[in-house]
Amino acid sequence: MSTLLLVRKLKKTFGERRLLDVTELNLEAGKIYALTGDNGSGKSTLLKILAGLEPADELRMRFSSADVDAAGYPDALRREIIYVHQHPYLFHSSIAANIEYGLALRGVEKPQRHDLANAAIDWAGLAAVRDVQPKRLSGGERQKVALARAKVLTPRLLLVDEPTANLDRAAREQIVTLLRQTASNNNCVVVACHDREIIDLPGIVHLHLDDGRIR
């Protein structure tokens, strides 16, 4: 397996508190990583920094062949690294429009966008709620829309924050299946979670965040 993302230094402090002090993190293509750690240990912050959504105090990392430092996160990288929130925000439009949002930004033509969105809706098992307003969806359905919205953009690195928190067993199993499928195309998935169903998945790589360091 080839290295997709290599972090050599990542530091983040909040006031006097050092939240993250990562000296090495190596993520390989085709693998799923479970990022664990206590509440407040900085899992979400780490994922957001990797996705360029949160500034780091110090950062030295290489994604594919691009070097990134704390001075600036290249916009182009956001097209390859996607972060999915624990409670994903769905735009006030239709499910299809949510899934098409990122495609439109990438200049995909409308007919192709529709086809891709429909395929993603079927992939995520959302066909039955296709015409339901996003605000009326359940927590599990919202997660599935968010995953479909990310997956359709074929990110090379998908960072997912607590995707199964507060979901029932059936919904959790569906989410886990979707995550495995996403990683199967030589992409990499990092899941911040407490869920044993994800942590105990066969072949999953464990990353534990403790006192700001990956162990």
């Binding site: 957001k48 996705a51 360029g52 959504l53 916009d75 956001r78 097209r79 996607i82 972060y83 999915v84 929130h85 409670h87 994903p88 925000y89 735009f91 006030h92 439009s93 239709s94 949002y101 990122g102 930004l105 990438r106 307003q133 605000k135 919205r149 990310a150 953009l153």
Partner: protein, 231 residues
């Protein structure tokens, strides 16, 4: 005139399309809608800026903005009067007692309402909408536009609220408009004048128009908010 007779006369004026009455309604609508059209873009931009850009003194700006929400409209009228009066710094423009002066006054009155609604709405969703848009590949500019689009119903509520405030305000319209028949006589100034003269019919008819407008605006807002953005 007895109340029942006044009400009957009010409806006769309304539905016989009395030219004087409908001219007053026309002036009100023209002045208020133009004022909103002028005030909305900069007010929404300011609200968005205050909600999203941290800077020294931002808190003070928000406090000042919110204070303007409860500013008496007659004070806005007074300030404008001093500026536009013949001896004032803008006296040469000859705008006092014109619809343009009323538009300026109403735009100033609507501005803080629009900005405050936008500020509150954007503050409520900014971080997660912005992060979602950025993570899906939006540029910072596009993420800002997406955020604004997501709060469109709250901004629309601000516009309707601003409209309600300006179409019914009497202090500023009276001071800088002068209540000139056919030119600057608006619904609230006409109600005030006619009532003072003991002519209740036109006042009741215009009051009825204001109530219908208020109901219509709220119904429209509820409809759009209920739709929740679904086409």
């Amino acid at each position: 005139m007895e109340l029942s007779a006044a009400i009957a006369e009010a409806f006769r004026l309304l539905f016989s399309f009395d030219a004087g009455l409908w001219n007053i309604i026309g002036v009100s609508m023209k002045v208020s809608l133009t004022a909103l059209l002028i005030a909305t873009p900069p007010a929404v931009a300011l609200g968005f800026f205050l909600a999203t850009v941290p800077f020294r003194g931002r808190r003070l700006c928000v406090i000042v903005l919110q204070s303007f929400l409860s500013f008496p409209t007659v004070v806005v009228g007074l300030v404008l009067y001093v500026l536009l009066a013949r001896s004032g710094p803008l006296g040469e423009l000859g705008l006092l007692y014109t619809p343009e002066a009323m538009i300026a006054g109403q735009a100033l009155i609507a501005f803080p309402v629009l900005a405050a609604f936008t500020l509150a709405a954007v503050q409520g969703v900014d971080r997660i909408v912005r992060e979602t848009a950025l993570s899906l590949g939006a540029s910072r500019w596009r993420a800002s536009l997406t955020t604004l689009f997501e709060v469109r119903f709250a901004v629309m509520a601000g516009v309707f609220n601003g409209f309600g405030r300006v179409i019914s305000e009497v202090g500023c319209a009276m001071m800088v408009g002068g209540n000139i028949a056919g030119l600057t006589r608006s619904i609230p100034t006409a109600i005030s004048l006619e009532t003072a003269k003991g002519e209740f019919a036109q006042g009741i008819a215009l009051g009825f128009v204001l109530i219908v407008l208020a109901l219509g605006i709220n119904a429209l807002l509820n409809y759009f908010q209920g739709e929740g953005g679904m086409k």
